[in-house]
């Protein structure tokens, strides 16, 4: 009884925020990327996690997690607070070293991903808590997303050698383009730290996008953004995939957004992956509903009382 009521509430949410199938429609007009058709786990997996476990002292954040993300797909990772979602992204970006398991980018396997090489491997990310460089302008924040392409030494930068100038000009052009793409022209010269929260989130997205990553990891990019802001930002995320062919792993709590935006959804609970499949399947998955709404635990406390 109760459970079915909850299921419908999930449905309602999805319908309210997003007309289902919007993602598909956009895709139909853009045949270059056909992520939905990709069988996950096929040879074209851009990201593959094999048997990842991670613990902090006595606390297990991830247990035997496997994940395959196909090229061009938007893969959501959802789960209750503390489920291990951010830890998963931190493992993928090499900030945490898993106790066990491997991370694969295409054909490269890593026990611990070398964070300093991440940009060169074609991976970019945003952070759950804003991680902008507050003392730089919005434009410079985006520009610095290309830091890994600047290989001229400091003497050449100081005197402004031809190579240094060329790289600087190329990077500036790329940054301008992303600024335009995400409609940030108005604020491009403002100090990032002085921008409203939603715009800061967008600048962070721009900073990640400017390098045209093959794989983009987004940790709750919609958190704390207003409703209209969310819709706009969601368009941008989808636009990024459609325009640049970027594969996206997206952590998000807003079920509505997730249902509308993603091709596949993986669900974590207490560090374990309890479900993985297309939105329609996840929506009706009993284990997910239990985990997400903490039903089992409420039962326990009831029994205890």
């Amino acid at each position: 009884m109760l459970l079915s009521a909850l299921t419908t509430s999930l449905d309602v949410l999805a319908l309210e925020t997003w007309a289902p199938g919007t993602a598909r429609q956009v895709l139909d007009t853009e045949p270059a990327a056909a992520p939905g058709a990709q069988v996950s786990g096929g040879p074209r997996a851009v990201l593959r996690l094999a048997n990842i476990s991670l613990s902090f002292g006595g606390l297990t954040a991830l247990r035997d997690v496997d994940l395959d993300v196909a090229e061009g797909e938007i893969r959501a990772v959802i789960g209750p607070n503390g489920a291990g979602k951010s830890s998963l992204l931190n493992v993928v970006s090499g900030l945490y070293r898993p106790d066990q398991g491997e991370v694969w980018f295409g054909d490269h396997a890593f026990r611990q991903v070398p964070t300093a090489q991440l940009a060169r491997l074609g991976v970019a990310r945003t952070f759950q808590n804003l991680a902008l460089f507050n003392g730089l302008s919005a434009f410079d924040n985006v520009l610095i997303g290309l830091a890994h392409r600047v290989h001229t030494g400091f003497i050449r930068q100081l005197v402004g050698s031809p190579a240094a100038r060329r790289i600087e000009a190329e990077n500036r052009a790329a940054a301008e383009e992303v600024i335009g793409f995400l409609h940030l022209q108005e604020v491009r010269d403002r100090i990032a730290g002085s921008l409203p929260y939603g715009l800061q989130k967008r600048v962070e997205l721009a900073r990640a996008l400017v390098a045209r990553p093959k794989l983009l990891l987004l940790d709750e990019p919609f958190a704390g953004v207003t409703l209209s802001g969310k819709q706009e930002l969601a368009q941008h995320v989808r636009g990024a995939r459609d325009r640049y062919g970027t594969t996206i792993v997206l952590i998000e709590h807003d079920i509505g957004i997730v249902m509308g935006l993603s091709d596949h959804i993986a669900v974590l609970d207490y560090g374990r992956k309890i479900a993985d499949g297309p939105p329609a399947e996840i929506k009706t998955n009993q284990a997910v509903i239990d985990a997400y709404l903490g039903v089992a635990h409420e039962d326990e406390t009831e029994l205890a009382i």
Binding site: S137, L158, D189, I191
Partner: protein
């Protein structure tokens, strides 16, 4: 009248991106064209020359602490390395021109700075700050202990050579002032240029969010060591000015921890991560004790002896540091900017 609300939305721009070239040109014109002709020897010797040397040292520390976010408590050590290196280069390689000595002395200070900056790769915050103290104590000890550095002068005292470039010699107070001004102007211009390049952005990125910087591909190791190197280079050159143009006779004890703190205070009071702040802070630190002693003497008469003066200086400087950290962490430079903006608003609302 009704435009007050609108003006507050004016974008906050980065000050170093839009350097007010006109203002700089005006200051240089003043510094070269007017001061040497009308300024007294006292002004140039006791006020302007130390001001310039301290400002350059503060720019150096600002690169490291203000821009790259690595706190250092050992600035005086690099002043000393610069001074003693230039002294020895001049003494032992007489064929080298003095300008080459100065640049090489800066380079030696940079090398020492990079060595002491190595812990920054693993250490953060306080742990790093404490480790920079190692530089402070080690350098001071080495310069006192090994007679070679001071050509076997008692307790490490060195006498600076005459500043001579080609056939020009800068012996008078005016000459030493003009020489310092030229070195500081060139060094400041180069630093400003560097800070506006990718390297400057990398510094700020490492300061503001090290993890994000790493993820993006900012080379942390190189960036931090570069910050230590450039910072120590500038401080080393400032040390040469301090020893050759200002004091003329220096000893290792003069480059003590208090000197390091003085430079740190300059950038806190003037404004972190601001080149203008370094100058404003240095001006404050040089002029303030002079004012305080005049004021104290006028108000208290003979009670205000040198001991009382020194202690009240400490108290006021300390209190000012706390006050700035609480009320305006961006320093005098922000205060001045705000005052200028307010004056502009006032004028535009009147017209």
């Amino acid at each position: 009248m009704t435009t007050i609300t609108e003006t507050t939305v004016a974008p906050t721009r980065l000050s170093w991106l839009t350097p007010n070239l006109l203002g700089v040109a005006l200051l240089l014109l003043l510094g070269y064209g007017l001061v040497p002709w009308i300024g007294s020897d006292y002004l140039m010797d006791a006020v302007l020359t130390p001001f310039l040397a301290l400002a350059l040292a503060a720019i150096g520390l600002n690169v490291l602490t203000g821009y790259a976010g690595q706190v250092s408590l050992g600035s005086a050590a690099f002043l000393a390395v610069g001074a003693y290196a230039a002294y020895n280069l001049n003494l032992r390689l007489p064929s080298l021109p003095l300008l080459a000595d100065i640049v090489l002395a800066g380079a030696i200070a940079a090398a020492v700075g990079i060595v002491f900056g190595l812990p920054s790769l693993r250490l953060r915050g306080f742990y790093l700050a404490v480790s920079t103290l190692a530089a402070q104590f080690f350098v001071q000890w080495a310069l006192t202990k090994f007679g070679w550095f001071s050509n076997d002068n008692a307790s490490g005292v060195i006498d600076a050579p005459v500043i001579r470039i080609g056939s020009l010699s800068f012996t008078s107070a005016t000459g030493r002032y003009v020489f310092s001004l030229s070195i500081v102007a060139v060094a400041t211009a180069l630093t400003a240029r560097l800070l506006a390049s990718q390297i400057g952005r990398n510094f700020i990125a490492v300061r503001d969010h090290e993890v994000a910087a790493k993820v993006i591909g900012v080379p942390l190791l190189r960036t931090k060591l570069l910050a230590f190197g450039i910072s120590s280079f500038l401080i080393g050159v400032a040390g040469v000015l301090w020893a050759f143009a200002y004091l003329r006779t220096v000893e290792p004890a003069g480059f003590n921890l208090d000197r390091s703190f003085q430079i740190l205070f300059i950038i806190i009071i003037g404004g972190l991560a601001s080149l203008r702040g370094a100058f404003i802070g240095a001006a404050f630190i040089v002029v303030f004790p002079l004012l305080l002693s005049r004021l104290g003497a006028a108000l208290l008469g003979s009670v205000f002896d040198s001991g009382v003066l020194e202690m009240s200086q400490r108290i006021v400087i300390g209190a000012l540091i706390i006050a700035f950290l609480i009320a305006e962490p961006r320093g005098l430079v922000a205060l001045i900017d705000r005052a200028v903006a307010a004056a502009r608003r006032l004028r535009s609302s009147q017209s």
